[in-house]
Amino acid sequence: MAIRLSRTFILRKLHQLTGIMPLGIFLLEHFYTNSKALSGPGDFNNAVKDLQSIPYILLVEIGGIFIPLIYHAVYGLVITVEARPNNLHYPYARNWFYTIQRVTGIILFFFITFHVLNFRFGMIPGLNTLSVAHHPEQSFEIVSREFHNVWIFIVYVIGITATVWHLANGIWLFLVDWGITIGERAQRLTGYACIAIGLLLLAVGINAAIAFIKPGGLIPGLM
């Protein structure tokens, strides 16, 4: 018998997939580039310049980042609207993760909008007016100037934390949603693995952000 795929089934599977690929992969690339700031402005600016020289960069950016990102964000809000959280009556860890995944999703919707307008386009009134992508030679300076404003730095720390949580838990969700992780023990072990991935990514992400206001990051010369 041929199975007919419903609209919701396809949209949900696409939502689960885009979260890991390309968006999860892109976050790893993003943290990699950010971490170039640990060894100084020159390395970071060169890394941005290299990214700008990727062949078909416009297509890569639109097809690999903007379209999946907008899809994941908008459909994620649709999913969030359907939620009926009941954490107070059923206060289990997974139930909290369920709610936190949706809360971090909403935070990310606003944070990423702000972040893209702030750095990729330089379009937030009263803040940076230069696009990092179009001024690679000044990119470290642009980011550094913004991060010296305490409030903006706090916004970025919250944003990075929410992003890392959303991805680390998202990896776990992808594994169960695609029927890769099945049994109770496997769920627990992949859960630990995702916590480890999350902590590692959080350290890398925050340290890279600190590198823009404190040369060498939190502990200069550590690695």
């Binding site: 018998m1 041929a2 199975i3 007919r4 795929l5 419903s6 609209r7 919701t8 089934f9 949900r12 599977k13 999913i79 359907e82 939620a83 009926r84 959280p85 009941n86 107070l88 009556h89 059923y90 289990y92 997974r94 139930n95 993760f97 369920y98 709610t99 969700l173 169960v176 949603d177 695609w178 029927g179 890769i180 992780t181 099945i182 049994g183 109770e184 769920q187």
Partner: protein, 246 residues
């Protein structure tokens, strides 16, 4: 403690507004919620002395295997027959399940769960015009796993506790576990795709949010999340990737 205070969320008839009524009955050891309700029914007078109608509820087996007496007790869904007063905080708050149409007082209409079972073909085809012979043998491990799923009593605890289940927009763990039960059966597997079709609609398995309350709320300890993830795998392999075999 000489008395037991019980708050009941009541509704006169479908569509009528809900309201709370407070009752007080004498305490005796080993009371359960059903025996409290029976006591109230003998003399339906509220704590403040007002005469009222006897409260309605469903009950049958009184040993937590039929599932009909399920209600929300102190905010948590469970069977009222196995809810012992000695283990409950007072006042005891009784509410009907919120995810099913409320008929009266604590009585709900759970026929949507039966509709789900019909949709997912939750049975093994046995009818034939000739003797089909004995069924195929089953692996003992599969038998044990199927036994766990077969214990479902369609009480609805999993759906009540599920943050994704509301107004029948999601087929829910109860039906998905039965898909697993019958897809694991060697003869039942012949209708596998029909069952997968049943859980792959717009209200299907992808609406699961992995909050995993179902498996915690299940009074029969059915590994509901395992069933959901097994069926995630089947829907991906045979549904999503099915076209690769054509």
């Amino acid at each position: 403690m000489n008395t037991v205070e019980i708050h009941i969320k009541r509704r006169e008839k479908p569509g009528a507004p809900q309201h709370w009524e407070i009752f007080e009955i004498p305490y005796r050891p080993n009371l359960n919620v059903i025996s409290c309700l029976l006591e109230i029914r003998k003399n339906p007078v509220t704590k403040s002395g007002q005469k009222t109608t006897p409260p309605s509820w469903d009950m049958n087996c009184l040993e937590q295997v039929c599932g009909i007496c399920t209600m929300v007790i102190n905010g948590r869904v469970r069977q009222s027959c196995s809810a012992l007063v000695d283990n409950l905080d007072q006042p005891i708050k009784l509410e009907p399940m919120t995810k099913f149409p409320n008929i009266r007082d604590l009585v709900v209409d759970r026929s949507q769960m039966f509709d789900h079972l019909k949709r997912v073909h939750a049975w093994v085809e046995l009818d034939g015009t000739y003797d089909l012979g004995p069924g195929p043998r089953m692996d003992q491990e599969d038998v044990m796993e199927r036994y766990a799923y077969s214990r479902c009593m369609t009480c609805g605890c999993c759906l009540e506790a599920c943050p994704q289940y509301d107004e029948d927009h999601y087929i829910g763990p109860q039906a998905i576990a039965q898909v697993r039960l019958f897809n694991m059966h060697p003869s039942g597997a012949m209708d596998r795709d029909e069952r997968l079709q049943g859980i792959m609609g717009d209200d299907g398995i992808t609406n699961c949010g992995n909050a995993q309350n179902c498996v915690k709320a299940c009074p029969m300890n059915i590994p509901l999340t395992k069933a959901i993830y097994e069926e995630n795998r089947e829907t991906v392999l045979y549904g999503l990737l099915g076209w690769l075999k054509k």
